[in-house]
Each structure stands twice: as structure tokens, then as C-alpha cells.
């Protein structure tokens, strides 16, 4: 029975030696906790940036209303989407599982800040306003406005460097800006989200997008090509099986992917083809190293300072193992006490980063658990190293 067991444990409790040893010198404890918290914050930030990078890399990809996506086999990532023949999409539409198809233009264009005139690269998506392409509820009312030429919908989560477009729009002002040499009018605001590859986004019709192609600094693909082909399947259709069939039948100038494979395609680029993932993981590892050194120093000096006392306890009959337990409990307490401030600081820094960069960095349960486990592992490893000093606590030498 749990209550009986708890009562038994309660009755067996002892003097909280680990706690008393730690709190005896409050200044040293505070320094130790500051060090552990700093290491924790470093881990939270590095791992948070890494995960946000991977998450942000597919912010737009997630929004596509599709079961199967066609891309060019020459495309390596959202940074370098290549065009493929539009007719492949219509070939794919011939499969009976396919309910509808939608071609999408995708590329980066030069957007000039309407306030300062400074150009900055921004991701433009172009498609037929009659198609349902993106899973954005607000598009239902705004998308028809794109039928007029040179109209765009602006992502309100774009970085501030693109200009005060959302503010001006909400004030009721007419917002016009240059995309390359084409002047566009902002017809509405959508919420898409910035990523590491795209600081801002806009949506326009395929016709307006084609004008960007011809403009200086424009996109540079031919009319017969598209960057994405979206396929929606009939309910119950097996997307993976269909993709396998398409891979076998379609020419090699197109690459069919399920939506999940499309997300993985983008994430894998950032994970494996760039050093960013490694760099952030290394940054987190540095946090572990820094924290380990701090905890080791604290525990080692604690054991050294109390060596005679530990030896006394051995002489009294306490086993080496029970003293190891004291050191390990100190390590555990340091981990618990050091983790909490780092978690709070992490929350604050994540909020600051989100507001300043629009990157989807968030304190997930997985992140909180990962960093706690890293801090716990760091303190445990340091405790294990510091324990070696305990071997020097010879009870025969204290007389």
C-alpha cells in the first residue's frame, strides 16, 4: 500500500545532510546555481534555436492544402526551389485517386520597404486565386481580391525590416510597395510566419507573379514551369502508394512526395546539408560542458572542505556508498535548484526571441524535459567525478 510505504519512508528519513552541506555557504550555493542556470539558459537557447529552425523551415510547407506535392528533383530546399514542367501536374491529375490539382509558383523576390525604399528578399507564392492552396481561413474572403492585377496579401508576421505594412494597413491607409520594378498594392494581411530562409512572405496571383518574373531582380522562370504542384486526393486514397506509382510512371524531371515527405525534405536539408543543426547542438553541448565544470568545482571543493567530516562519518559506521549518496543528492539538488531559474529565463528569452525575430521558438514539454535531463546528467556526471575525492576520506587518518 502506497500510504504505508510513504509512512515507512517518512519514518526512515534521516538528517538532510546533503541539503545542509549545500546551504551552509549560501554565497557559494548562489554562485553554483547561477552557473548551472547559465548553462541551462545556454542549452534552452541553443536547442530552442535549433528546433525553431527546423520548425520554421516548414512553416509555409505545413500551410499547403495538399496530400501529394510535386517538386523538381533539382530542388534542394525552399531556398532553391527549381521549376519543372507544368504538364507533369496535369499528367498526375489523370490518376483516379486525385481529386484536384493546383500549380504554385514559389520564389524569392526583392521587396522594397515602402517607408525607406530599402530592398530585401521576401518569399512570394503565386497561384490561381480560384484554387484553394493554403490552409489559411482568412484567405477565403481575401483571395478573390487577388484577381485584380498587382495585388498581394502580405504576411503580418514578416520582419519589421520590410516596413510598417501591417500598421499602415490596419490604420486604413493604402499600402503600396515595389516588388522588383512592379508596384503592388497590399489587399490584405495573412498570418504565415517567418523562417530562417524567409524573413517575410507574400501571396499573389499567378498572373502577378509572372510579372515579377520579367522584372529586374525577379524570379526568372518560364511560363510553362511551376515550382510546386499540389494534389488533393479523394477521401481514403493512399498517398504513399500513389507516390510510389507516380515515381514509377512520371518522367524523372518531377519528384512526387507525400506531404509528410515534403516536410521531411525541407527539414532534412537543414539538418543534414547545413552546419546549422550541428552548430546549435554544439552550442548546447558547450552549455553542458560549462555547467559540468561549475558543478564539478562546487562538489569537489565541497568534498575537499568536508573530507575530515566524511572520514568521521566513515569512522562512525557510515558506508562509502551512503556518503556517495550524499554527494549524489547534492548533485540532484543542484540540478533541481539550478534548473528552475533557467526554465523561467528560457521562457522569457523565448518570448523575446519570438517577438523580435518571429521565429516559432517555444518552450515545449519535450524541450523542458530535454534540458532538465541534460542538467541532471551534467550534475550526476560531475557528482560521480567529485566522488573520487571521497576515497581519500580515510577514517584512520582523522585521529
Amino acid at each position: 500500500m502506497l500510504p504505508e510505504r510513504l509512512l515507512h519512508l517518512w519514518q526512515r528519513r534521516r538528517v538532510p545532510l546533503a541539503w545542509m552541506l549545500l546551504t551552509r555557504q549560501p554565497v557559494r550555493l548562489a554562485v553554483a546555481l547561477a552557473g548551472i542556470s547559465f548553462a541551462g539558459v545556454l542549452m534552452f537557447l541553443q536547442l530552442g534555436f535549433r528546433d525553431a529552425l527546423f520548425e520554421a523551415s516548414i512553416t509555409i510547407h505545413r500551410l499547403f492544402d495538399a496530400d501529394v506535392v510535386l517538386i523538381s528533383p533539382r530542388s534542394t530546399s525552399s531556398n532553391a526551389m527549381q521549376a519543372f514542367p507544368r504538364r507533369r501536374l496535369y499528367q498526375a491529375a489523370g490518376w483516379q485517386e486525385v481529386a484536384s490539382v493546383a500549380p504554385v509558383r514559389w520564389n524569392f523576390v526583392q521587396w522594397k520597404n515602402p517607408e525607406t525604399g530599402k530592398p530585401r528578399s521576401l518569399l512570394a507564392l503565386g497561384f490561381d486565386p480560384a484554387d484553394s492552396v493554403l490552409l489559411l481561413p482568412e484567405l477565403e474572403t481575401m483571395q478573390p481580391k487577388l484577381r485584380l492585377g498587382n495585388r498581394v496579401l502580405y504576411d503580418r508576421l514578416s520582419r519589421k525590416e520590410f516596413g510598417p505594412v501591417p500598421e499602415w494597413f490596419e490604420q486604413g491607409r493604402e499600402v503600396r510597395a515595389q516588388v522588383g520594378d512592379v508596384e503592388v498594392k497590399v489587399e490584405g494581411l495573412v498570418r504565415m510566419g517567418a523562417s530562417f530562409s524567409a524573413d517575410g512572405n507574400l501571396i499573389t496571383s499567378d498572373r502577378t507573379f509572372a510579372k515579377f518574373r520579367n522584372s529586374r531582380g525577379g524570379v526568372g522562370t518560364t511560363n510553362g514551369s511551376i515550382e510546386l504542384g499540389l494534389l488533393r486526393l479523394h477521401p481514403g486514397a493512399d498517398a504513399e502508394a500513389l507516390v510510389r506509382q507516380m515515381q514509377a510512371v512520371l518522367p524523372p524531371d518531377v519528384r512526387p512526395l507525400t506531404k509528410d515527405q515534403f516536410l521531411a525534405f525541407e527539414q532534412n536539408y537543414w539538418k543534414s546539408s547545413t552546419s546549422i543543426g550541428f552548430i546549435f547542438t554544439l552550442g548546447a553541448a558547450m552549455g553542458v560542458v560549462v555547467g559540468s565544470v561549475i558543478v564539478y568545482q562546487i562538489l569537489f571543493s565541497d568534498v575537499s572542505d568536508h573530507l575530515a567530516e566524511y572520514a568521521t562519518l566513515k569512522a562512525m559506521g557510515y558506508s562509502h556508498g551512503s556518503l556517495v549518496g550524499v554527494v549524489m543528492r547534492e548533485a540532484l539538488l543542484l540540478a533541481l535548484l539550478g534548473y528552475f531559474p533557467s526554465w523561467v529565463a528560457g521562457l522569457g528569452l523565448y518570448a523575446l526571441t519570438r517577438s523580435q525575430t518571429m521565429i516559432p521558438i517555444a518552450m515545449t514539454q519535450a524541450m523542458a524535459t530535454t534540458v532538465f535531463c541534460l542538467i541532471l546528467g551534467m550534475c550526476t556526471a560531475s557528482g560521480l567525478l567529485a566522488m573520487r575525492k571521497l576515497n581519500q576520506a580515510d577514517p584512520a587518518e582523522i585521529f
Binding site: 517518512w10 519514518q11 526512515r12 528519513r13 534521516r14 538528517v15 545532510l17 545542509m20 552541506l21 546551504t23 551552509r24 568536508h306 575530515a308 567530516e309 568521521t312 562519518l313 566513515k314 569512522a315 562512525m316 559506521g317 557510515y318 558506508s319 577514517p395 584512520a396 582523522i398 585521529f399
Partner: protein
């Protein structure tokens, strides 16, 4: 008290039975160092210690008193000889046996060796905590009781740094007795105390061991406290040279 020379066998007490003998040592030899540096610090020690007996071990520095104390306290490995403490043979004993013996022995150090981060009460409870059979509350009550017995009922919550030398040694005595030991080993318990306080502490120790049924082996140079002993042993050059019975 009258000291007299005696053969080595004279310090053993034949006729003692196992029930009343707390320590039984025969032919104990101990060496430190290796090769030419090897030093024979204990040479053929024979010694018995009975229940409720207080024995004082005296002698010049370096004669081997403390080494004998640490061997009896199961704190060193016995190299040669027969050492039985509280019914356990210590020669060749495993760490488990040594630890079991240590738990039944109370130790009082010259420098009290209290844990600086713990209060007087907690220090005593560290001794009581060795008895895992007792629930926390009883261990705590025992610690209070012992501190009351040593006259420190009003100092429970004080750290060692806030106590006088005599008070610290009283806490150390209470701690040594908290685990209900059968044998108490004391190494110069009055060395760091003034004569008045030292006398108080030793009288307290004498009363406490009588009340709690311990045997005591006390190493001391302090001639003012020799009268508390039932027997006096004098060591010299690794041998017990003389014995004196209490007056």
C-alpha cells in the same frame, strides 16, 4: 594507583568469558612503511577489555596508542595477530564486517569532528541515524534525551561554531552514544579543553558510559583524569609496558 612492570601476557585477562569481553587481542603486530623504512609500531600486543570497564591508555607520542585505537575501531586492516572486537574477528574481515563493528563502536575525537553544517541536535542524530530499526521520531527523541543528559538541552539548534569547546565535546559524547555502542573509543578527549572543562567532560563521560553500559578505551596524556579509569595501561615503543589498577 600503583604502576608495575609486567610481562606482555599480564594485560590479557584469562578467565574472561565471551559475554563479558568486548575486546580480545592476542599477539597484535602492526607495521608502517615498506623496505628499509618499515617501522614495527605495535609489537605483540595482548589486551582484553571487559564490559562496563574504563581503560586509559597512556604513553609518549609515537608509541602506537592511536594505531592500536584505530585497529580496535575497525578503521585499519589488521596485519598480524588476533583481534576480536564485540565478538567479531577483525583480521581478514570484509568491509561489511568492519562497517558492522564500527556501527557498534562510539568514537570521540580530540578535535570533536562535529559536522559544521549541522546543529548540535542534528550532529547527535547522525549517530542515532545509524540505527535503521528505529523510526525517525524515536531517533530524534533519543538525540534530545542524550543532549539533555550532557546538559545541552537548551543548545539543540546551535551550530558547532556557536558552542564552546567543552560544549562541542559534550555534543561529541552524545553523538558517540547515540548509536547505543557497546564500546567507546576516545582519543585525547580533553586535549583541547581547559582543566576544569576537561574534568567535567571526563566525569560526564564516566557517568554516561556507566549509565549506558559501554566499555571505554581512552587514550590520553592528561594526568588529571587518570582516576576515572578502572585500569591504566602504559605503552612504550609499541608495547604495553605497564598496567595499573584503579585505586
Amino acid at each position: 594507583m600503583a604502576a608495575h612492570s609486567a610481562s606482555l601476557d599480564a594485560f590479557a585477562q584469562p578467565g574472561l568469558d565471551a559475554a563479558t569481553t568486548r575486546v580480545h587481542i592476542r599477539g597484535l603486530n602492526h607495521w608502517f612503511g615498506e623496505g628499509e623504512q618499515r617501522c614495527h609500531v605495535l609489537q605483540g600486543i595482548d589486551l582484553d577489555l571487559r564490559a562496563r570497564e574504563i581503560v586509559i591508555l597512556s604513553g609518549p607520542s609515537g608509541c602506537g596508542k592511536t594505531t592500536l585505537l584505530t585497529l580496535m575501531g575497525a578503521l585499519r586492516a589488521v596485519q598480524d595477530g588476533d583481534v576480536q572486537v564485540l565478538g567479531e574477528q577483525l583480521r581478514g574481515a570484509s568491509q561489511v564486517v568492519l562497517r558492522r563493528v564500527r556501527r557498534r563502536i562510539g568514537v570521540i575525537f580530540q578535535g570533536h569532528n562535529l559536522l559544521r553544517c549541522l546543529t548540535a541536535e542534528q550532529n547527535v542524530q547522525m549517530g542515532a541515524d545509524l540505527n535503521r530499526q528505529l523510526p525517525y521520531r524515536e531517533r530524534r527523541l533519543r538525540s534530545h534525551q542524550l543532549l539533555r543528559e550532557v546538559g545541552l538541552a537548551d543548545q539543540l539548534g546551535k551550530l558547532p561554531a556557536a558552542l564552546s569547546g567543552g560544549q562541542r565535546q559534550r555534543v561529541a559524547i552524545a553523538r558517540a552514544l547515540a548509536a547505543e555502542p557497546h564500546l567507546l573509543l576516545a582519543d585525547e578527549p580533553t586535549a583541547a579543553l581547559d582543566s576544569h572543562t576537561g574534568r567535567e567532560v571526563v566525569e560526564l563521560l564516566q557517568r554516561m558510559v556507566r549509565d549506558h553500559g559501554c566499555s571505554v578505551l581512552m587514550v590520553t596524556h592528561d594526568p588529571r583524569i587518570l582516576d576515572v579509569a578502572d585500569r591504566l595501561l602504559v605503552m612504550e615503543d609499541g608495547r604495553i609496558r605497564a598496567m595499573a589498577a584503579a585505586a
